[in-house]
């Protein structure tokens, strides 16, 4: 019996270790507008971003032909560099295209704002481009931590 006691004590520890090594399950990514609304309500943005027409957002990201039904773009009034793009793509190739174009968009914004409004550049330096499955998210926030708290639930 004495020999069994250490084993019995060790078992819960082993079970705990097994649980800890398994990554926490992330929630499924909600629909684009729902996720955008959650981000906008998080207090991560210095002004109320507005949802733009799909075709205008696609044009700005050069994603006119992207196979991504139900995407969502949010932009500022022009006063700040903050913006959101949530791109639920139909397939892996589209997701890769979306991710690439988000990268190009970010590069261009940094270039633009460096001369135009340098005070906005730190926000761009903390921009997030995340992907889960075929959904890609691009987010430039005033408070990156608050935005990340929301996105960490899903990505």
């Amino acid at each position: 019996m004495k020999k069994l006691i250490p084993l019995l004590l060790a078992l819960p520890c082993l079970l705990l270790c097994a649980c800890a090594s398994k990554p926490a399950e992330k929630a499924p990514v909600p629909e684009a507008e729902t996720l955008a609304a959650e981000l906008l309500a998080s207090g991560a943005f210095s002004e109320d971003l507005a949802i733009a027409e799909d075709d205008v957002g696609r044009f700005l990201y050069a994603l006119e032909a992207l196979n991504a039904p139900g995407l969502c773009f949010c932009f500022s009034s022009g006063a700040v560099a903050e913006e959101i793009a949530i791109l639920p793509c139909a397939d892996e190739v589209s997701a890769q295209t979306a991710r690439d174009e988000c990268g190009h968009r970010l590069e261009n914004l940094v270039k633009l704002y460096t001369e135009y409004k340098p005070e906005e550049v730190p926000k761009l330096e903390k921009a997030m481009i995340l992907q889960k499955g075929n959904t890609v998210v691009f987010c430039v926030a005033a408070d990156e931590k608050k935005a990340r708290t929301v996105l960490d639930k899903y990505f």
Binding site: D48, A50, D55, V56, F75, S76, G78, H104, L112, Y116
Partner: protein, 327 residues
């Protein structure tokens, strides 16, 4: 057929009476010189005509009764001498009447809704007229800065092409590669515009130039830009939009972005419109409150209106349209 008769009658009432006296001395109406399509006829129908040569006469023209007391514009014959043709030709004919009516009044300009702008000339702000539909902008391109981008994003105009980016000024609109065409490739705004032929070019620039030391530099560079746009878009009429106001708070706390300074630069834009024969569209009025400022609480930075205000801009443009009908 009834619709055709009604339209003819409306056209005749709208223009025939006013034009008769002048047309007596010149019985044949001049060739169509209207430079933009989509004008509203006096009878209310939207003309589909373009500035193209008159179509060949139909072999068996449909007779149209002559209204009593009609003058030179009796609808038994078109102003070009050809017989009146069926309905599909009527819009063209109406445009000729409109043009002839404008000439009878020695009027060089009509609004987009078809009214004669007797007192308007380059250098004056485009006057208010009956609203046009957004189709009027289907042959237009909008180019400009962050304010123009706000209009692109939130103005609600889907029929026009738009190339607008924050940071753009008269100095860099032709040099900075800012229009994303995919794959990490970018065009200048002028290059992006030049890929297509337009009949109307709307420009919104100036706010980023307020920090410049000299209005003369602004005038010179803007003037050069107008020449370049005309070179790239020779068929287009040019619409120079004024700058929009800033809030009183912004105006009082800044030495650069102030409403008095905006008025000074708007006067430069107006002068350019006069000197270069472009239309000056005073969109300042679309955003201004009774104190002469962008309303308090309508902007985060005091310069860029919140998205919900941009449709006011479109409403203003729809009710301040002009086209040149003769030179």
């Amino acid at each position: 057929m009834l619709l055709v008769l009604c339209a003819v009658l409306c056209l005749w009432i709208g223009l025939g009476r006013d034009s008769a006296e002048a047309a007596e001395a010149e019985p044949t109406a001049p060739a169509l010189t209207l430079r933009a399509s989509g004008a509203m006829l006096p009878g209310g129908g939207e003309a589909q005509a373009e500035a193209t040569p008159a179509p060949t006469p139909q072999p068996t023209p449909e007779p149209v009764p002559t209204p009593p007391g009609s003058g030179v514009f009796a609808p038994s014959a078109r102003p070009d001498g050809n017989a009146v043709t069926p309905k599909d030709d009527l819009c063209y004919w109406g445009m000729e009447l409109l043009d002839a009516g404008a000439q009878a009044h020695r009027c060089r300009f009509v609004s987009g809704s078809g009214s004669l702008l007797l007192d308007y000339d380059y250098g004056a702000a485009v006057p208010e007229s009956e609203a046009v539909g957004t189709d009027w902008f289907s042959d237009a391109v909008f180019i400009g800065n962050s304010l123009a981008q706000g209009f692109m994003l939130y103005g609600g105009l889907k029929t026009a092409d738009m190339f607008a980016v924050q940071s753009i000024s008269v100095a860099n609109i032709g040099t900075d590669h800012v229009i994303n065409v995919g794959g990490g490739n970018y065009l200048t705004i002028l290059d992006a515009m030049a890929r297509k032929s337009y009949r109307k070019v709307f420009v919104m620039l100036g706010i980023n130039e307020l920090s410049w030391a000299s209005k003369e530099t602004f005038y010179t560079k803007y003037s050069n830009l107008i020449d370049k746009i005309r070179e790239l878009e020779p068929e287009a009429e040019l619409y120079l939009q004024s700058m929009t106001p800033v809030t009183a708070r912004q105006s009082n706390n800044s030495t650069t972005f102030t409403n008095p300074r905006i008025h000074e630069y708007n006067e430069v834009i107006r002068q350019l419109a006069e000197d270069k024969e472009a239309h000056y569209v005073y969109v300042f009025d679309a955003f201004v409150d009774e104190t002469g400022c962008l309303p308090a609480g309508s902007s985060d930075d005091g310069i860029h209106p919140y998205p919900k205000y941009y449709p006011q801009w479109l409403t203003y443009l729809e009710t301040h349209t002009v086209m040149e009908v003769q030179r």
